[in-house]
């Protein structure tokens, strides 16, 4: 049989990407809020007969009258307007069986295109659980479109759809009747074919009554965030201690067994001293993502956006900025991509500009290294870890910085017209253990790939520049002072001396532009290389800096990391999403300026106080 190209279209959050993953075996991100998928994704699978089926997963849209960049992609592909893209052979419209009043209208709108299509009635299990009874045959007759029931989250839930795609039935082109109002048609179809005990889910009503309560809502939100950051510090400790001990053991083993020379220096200083100092943070990153994934899957995130919309609008943003900004706490890159679901151009640009200020997971190694080295390990009020509290404070500073920048931007904006919100709040869902495990596995893989990829590369380059050229004959002083990196570091030092950075930090900042964690591995390498003269095993980086740096320097470096755009990939994605180098220049310029000012103030004030 001929190959087939299908496109999955439908309202936001109806399960298109879950269906896509189930069909193609892909692992695209799924979550429980509108606007998870913001770009076109492509996959392939082979049906039992061997037929090749190419699947396009498209961003969800409420209407073909598109309002934002994500909806425009879907509209253009449905209408065959996207350059370089052929029309799909079959449109698979996906609709959530528990949300048909809304979703069927879009199905009817797609039907009017007069293209071959079928309807995948998804989440049939959830509909049954809520006592919603659907007469599929009757609906099919009323709608005039072939209907296939699916449960996208279950392996056997797509069998009927695959069988249909595998059959030789010519794709059905629905008859287009130029009838009047789509909503009238939806009501007629629902009256004829659906019986539901009640329009809302009881669980949703109850949970929203508590979580969105005007008095309890915000305290609950703050409490959730607080628990997350406490957990990042306290739960990760045992696993971190274990990794740290393994690295020390490995370091001892290498220095004792390998003969002196370049190879030994590379393994001990660049690999164990450098990469080892970053890998320690894997447990913290896993714990952070564990919570983020649960929040995403449960449907709580749009609720948090609801609670914060008014505050955010006062700062010149919208509740819709909340999810992109929250994702930026994982990494600014997907966060900036997610702004495609913000339909107001001004809100979108503001959100993109402040996304790099949110504390991304790459800052965790930098912050926790410094916090663990300089903040005493004790508890406040008996149960709160002081270190966790300081980390929480760093997140708050990032958020407050972002809101302030947004406020300033909105004050300078001439166009004061209305900013839309209109945001759907999905049904709550119990997070799937399997999805959670897959999501965490993916994040761990991404982190390990960063370590073996960009961090390894940047760090190896750094090791080369710290090792060569070697110490000239008869020279005194440590060898690293004569290396390329040492020379660059000493050259930079005068610029950074007013903010308290020594030359080792200056050296680490340059490869640290590739990725923020590199600053930690780079300092690990610089100190390991400097210390290798006395042949002792490099001490743990944390102990080393706590004995060598002043508190003012440590705090100044933390202030620097709140603002500095030490991540080229973020700047690259800003260029792609805004299509403007000017925006990249503005972002990098304002962030470096703020970083220097705040690090300067921090250093000068703290060093005078202490």
């Amino acid at each position: 049989m001929d190959a087939l190209t299908i496109a999955l279209v439908g309202n936001p959050n109806c399960g298109k990407t879950a269906l896509f993953n189930q069909l193609t075996g892909a692992r695209q991100k799924v979550a429980n809020y509108a606007g998870v998928t913001v770009e076109r994704k492509e996959g392939v699978f082979h049906a039992p007969s061997g037929r090749k089926v190419q699947v396009l997963d498209l961003p969800g849209t409420y209407s073909l009258e598109a309002m934002g960049p994500d909806e425009i992609i879907t509209r253009d592909i449905c209408l065959g307007r996207r350059p370089g893209e052929t029309m799909p052979d079959l449109i698979v419209c996906v609709a959530d069986a528990t949300n048909l009043r809304l979703h069927l209208r879009f199905v009817l709108e797609v039907k009017r295109l007069g293209r071959p299509m079928i309807l995948a009635l998804n989440m049939m299990d959830a509909a049954k659980k809520r006592g919603i009874w659907i007469d599929t045959a009757r609906m099919e007759a009323e709608l005039g479109v072939k209907i296939i029931e699916t449960i996208a989250v279950k392996a056997e839930g797509t069998a009927a759809l695959v069988a249909h795609l595998d059959s030789n039935i010519a794709p059905h082109v629905p008859e287009v009747k130029e009838s009047g109002d789509l909503h009238t048609d939806v009501r007629r179809i629902l009256d004829a074919s659906v019986v539901m005990p009640q329009r809302t889910s009881l669980i949703d009503d109850r949970l929203d009554g508590i979580l969105l309560n005007p008095f309890l809502g915000i305290p609950i939100l703050v409490a959730i965030m607080f628990v997350v950051f406490q957990a990042v510090f306290t739960w990760a400790a045992p696993a971190q201690d274990f990794i740290e001990a393994s690295m020390t053991w490995l370091g001892v083993f290498v220095t004792q067994t390998l003969p002196d020379g370049l190879l030994k220096s590379f393994i001990a200083d660049a690999l164990i001293g450098g990469l080892g100092s970053v890998i320690v943070f894997l447990p913290q990153i896993i714990i952070l993502f564990f919570f983020i994934l649960i929040l995403e899957e449960s449907g709580y995130l749009p609720r948090a956006a609801f609670l914060l919309d008014h505050l955010m609008s006062k700062a010149g943003l919208t509740g819709r900025s909340f999810i992109p900004l929250l994702s930026s706490h994982a990494c600014a890159i997907p966060g900036i991509m997610a702004t495609r679901s913000i339909h107001d151009v001004r809100d979108r640009i503001t959100t993109i500009l402040i996304a790099p200020l949110m504390t991304c997971s790459a800052r965790i190694p930098v912050y926790t290294l410094l916090i663990a080295a300089f903040v005493p390990e004790r508890s406040v009020w008996g149960f709160v870890s002081l270190q966790g509290l300081v980390l929480f404070g760093m997140y708050i500073i990032g958020i407050a910085g972002g809101l302030t920048v947004s406020l300033v931007m909105s004050a300078f904006r001439h166009d004061k017209s209305e900013h839309p919100l209109i945001m759907e709040l999905p049904s709550y869902r119990m997070p799937h253990a399997k999805n959670l495990a897959i999501g965490l596995g993916e994040r761990a893989m991404i982190f390990m790939r960063r370590i073996t990829g960009i961090i390894f590369t940047a760090n190896t380059l750094l090791w080369v520049t710290t090792t060569f050229p070697g110490k000239p004959e008869g020279a005194t002083g440590p060898a690293i002072d004569y290396s390329l990196a040492g020379m660059i570091g000493h050259l930079m030092e005068p610029i950074f001396a007013p903010i308290g950075f020594n030359w080792q930090i200056c050296v680490a900042l340059i490869p640290g532009l590739a990725a923020r964690e590199v600053a930690v591995s780079a300092m690990g390498t610089v100190y390991a290389v400097s210390g290798s003269d006395d042949a002792a095993v490099a001490d743990q980086l944390g102990h080393l800096i706590s004995s060598q740096w002043s508190l003012a320097t440590a705090l100044s470096l933390m202030a620097w990391y709140v603002f500095a755009p030490q991540c080229l990939s973020t700047l690259a994605v800003i260029r792609r999403e805004t299509n403007s180098w000017k925006m990249v220049g503005i972002t990098a310029g304002y962030l470096f300026t703020l970083a220097y000012i705040f690090a300067f103030l921090t250093y000068q004030i703290v060093s005078r106080l202490s």
Partner: protein
């Protein structure tokens, strides 16, 4: 009356959505989402500050609407 004036949980239905200006995209989107004549509607929650945004149940779906958006929707309380 406007949707913003409707008391919480009072059953009502939509009578229409007004455009604040020509080609009002927000009003158009509201109509697409089901804010059309005769549709049952209820205010089921309010934001913690300034009672903004409003949580609106329409059809089988919940939407967060800012007050400026909700004030475009005209409703009639159920008798």
């Amino acid at each position: 009356m406007k949707l913003t004036d409707l008391p919480a949980f009072a059953p009502a239905h939509v009578t229409g959505v007004i455009d604040t200006h020509d080609g009002d995209l927000i009003s158009n989107r509201l109509r697409e989402l089901g804010f059309v004549d005769g549709e049952e509607v209820r205010v089921v929650g309010r934001g913690p500050i300034g009672a903004d945004p409003l949580l609106i149940q329409i059809g089988f779906t919940r939407f967060a609407l800012r007050r400026s958006e909700a004030s475009r929707v005209l409703v009639e309380k159920a008798a």
